[in-house]
Every structure is written in C-alpha cells, then in structure tokens.
C-alpha cells in the first residue's frame, strides 16, 4: 500500500475541491439547499426502527417528527442523495479498479484493531452528527459555503477535536517511530 503510488491515481485535491464546489453550487441553485450525508443514514436507521418498533417511535417526539404514524422518513431528499453517493462512489471505484474487499489500516495495527476503532469512531460520529444537526458534508461544506455562523463554529470544532486527539492515537495511523 505505497502511498506515493496511490497518490498518482487520485485527483489533485484542488481540482477535486473545485469540482465539488461547483456541484455544491449547482445543488443550491437547483434545489435551494446544499449537500448532506449523516441525515440520510439517520433516516434510514429510523425507518428500520419504525418497522421494528413503531409504537416506540410514535412515543418519542424526536423520532415521531421524522417517522411518527404515517410519516415516511425515507421520503426526503437526503435519503435519495445518500443512495446516489454510494452509487457514485462505487462507479468511480469500479472505473479505477479500486473496488476490492480490503481493510485500510495504519501500518502499526492489525485489521481487527482497525475494525474496532472504526466502529467506535462511527458511534461517536453518528451521535455527534445528530447533536450538531449535520456532518462535514451538510454543516461544514454546505453551511460553510453560505456563511452560517454555526457551520463555521462546527467546522473549527471538528478540526480542533481531531487534532487534539491525534497525537494520543498516532499508533492507529502513523508509520512506526
């Protein structure tokens, strides 16, 4: 997994960023709002929850707002977008032969360890995204581009949180010292 050779195959980040910026603008122009991701995962999770324990969903005001009674949590643009993201990611990977069952992990740890931390990180991400009412795609990118104060504060908090902890968990990612 030589980083340098991988790099040659990926787009220049400035170009990728510029294209993403154009897409984000088109999203605002055509639909009136930006991009999103965590909201979609959230709604799918709630939809499943609604199938399994509908009475519980109806009783919680937070859940009921999305899926109470007849309300279908999946009838929302962000769910469609999340599906699109997966298809698009797959298409890009397929085109470049990057669709492969494997685990990306830092050189100092095993895949198993990586899985455990990925799961743990995912839990925090899922929880944090709901608390912040968005994730890096929705809040930071979209909210940031249209100058929302909350989005910028959020963005800096994410970077701060990541950088603050990075040194302590460097074994997860850094090559051997």
């Amino acid at each position: 997994m030589n980083e340098l050779s991988d790099k040659i195959k990926y787009w220049n980040p400035y170009i990728g960023g510029a294209l993403l910026g154009v897409l984000l603008f088109l999203s605002f122009f055509i639909t009136g709002h930006g991009l999103g991701a965590s909201g979609g995962v959230n709604r799918i999770a709630v939809a499943v929850q609604d199938m399994v324990v509908p009475e519980h969903v109806d009783k919680s005001p937070y859940l009921a707002a999305m899926a109470g009674g007849d309300v279908d949590p999946l009838r929302h643009w962000i769910v469609l977008e999340v599906v699109g993201v997966m298809i698009g990611g797959f298409a890009s990977g397929l085109l470049r032969n990057r669709v492969r069952l494997q685990t990306y992990h830092g050189p100092q740890i095993t895949p198993r360890t990586r899985w455990a931390f990925a799961f743990a990180g995912g839990i925090l991400m899922g929880y944090g995204a709901r608390l912040a009412r968005g994730c890096t795609s929705g809040q930071a990118l979209s909210g940031g581009a249209v100058l929302s104060v909350g989005s910028w504060a959020f963005m800096f908090a994410v970077f701060a949180g990541g950088y603050a902890l990075a040194w302590f968990v460097r074994r997860l990612w850094q090559p051997g010292e």
Partner: protein, 198 residues
Amino acid sequence: MAPFDLTATLGVTGSYLVYLGIGFGFGFILESSGFGDSRKLAAQFYFRELRVLKVMFTAIVVAMLLVFWASALGLLDYADIMVKETWLWPGIVGGLIMGVGFILGGYCPGTSLVSVATLKVDGMFFLLGHVVGVLAFGETVGYINEFWNSSYMGRFILPELFGLDIGVVVFLVVCLALAMFLGFGWIQRLIYGRGDPE
C-alpha cells in the same frame, strides 16, 4: 430567479432523480479524490497529507463565490436558499465529538458511504457504528433536550456576526482559505521536510 420549486417543475419522481444525480456526483468526486481511504483522511491530522483541508476549503470557496456571484447577478436569491441555522453550543460540542470520531474512525459520514461502496471493511464497521450512534442519540435525546435546543440563533450568518458586508466576508474567507493552505503546508514541511506528494 433560482432556486426553483423542484417538485412543481419536475414532479416528485423527477426531483428524486435530481437528488440521486447530485449524490452520484458527490460520491464520484469523493472517491476520485481519495476520500474512500481512511488512511488519507486521518493523515490530515498528522499533517502528512493535506487532502482534507484542500478539498474542503477549495470546495467551500468555489461554491461560495458561485453562490454570491449568482446572487449579485440576480440569478439566485440568497434569501431563498437554505442556510443551516445556528444552535451554537450543540454544534460546537457535536463538532468536537465528531473530531474525535474522525481521528478514531478514520471517516466522516459522507466518506464512509463511499468507502462502503468500494467494499472497504473498515468503512463498513464505521457505518455500522454510525447507525448505532444515531440510534443512541434518538434514545437519549430526551435527557439532553434542553442542551440540544439551547443557544438557538436562527439563520445567523458571518456578515451579521462581524457587522460586515457579504462581499467583504466572502473576500476574507478566501483569504482565510489561502492562508490555511500556506500555513498548513509550512507546518507540513517543518515536520516532514516535504510538501504534499502531488
């Protein structure tokens, strides 16, 4: 003037196709930029690779310029587009939690989708964790309801915060992004003696 009412123009199915298309573009660009790889994402926090910073801020700056130029030319009504409302402290605390989740998990929600789409097992574990986290929030939100709904400031934008014109803030944001590219690059060279492997 944009934005237009999508459902009225294209019908519900049509509008859903548009969202699928937008999502497709989003996922495609993310994967093409290497964001399906957790190692590249995490490398940002060690200054080893500045991909995340560059893609994010370039995207924000480009989108921002396009949005406000379109607004200036009467093509798009800024008042009609969705600006994420501000709940200041839940946003900051949630952001900190997500920062920790980012460095532990190696993904953010959007990139994890791309990772799963290319069959990366660590992405799958992350997404599973994400679902658990989301459900956990749903079950416990009752206890933190007051906090979750605190510090609501509505549609609060940077120009209002600083008392500056939109155009001035846009310019300052561009300057900030460029300064960050330069600054982070300088730190990177300091630590590793090289710039981003291009």
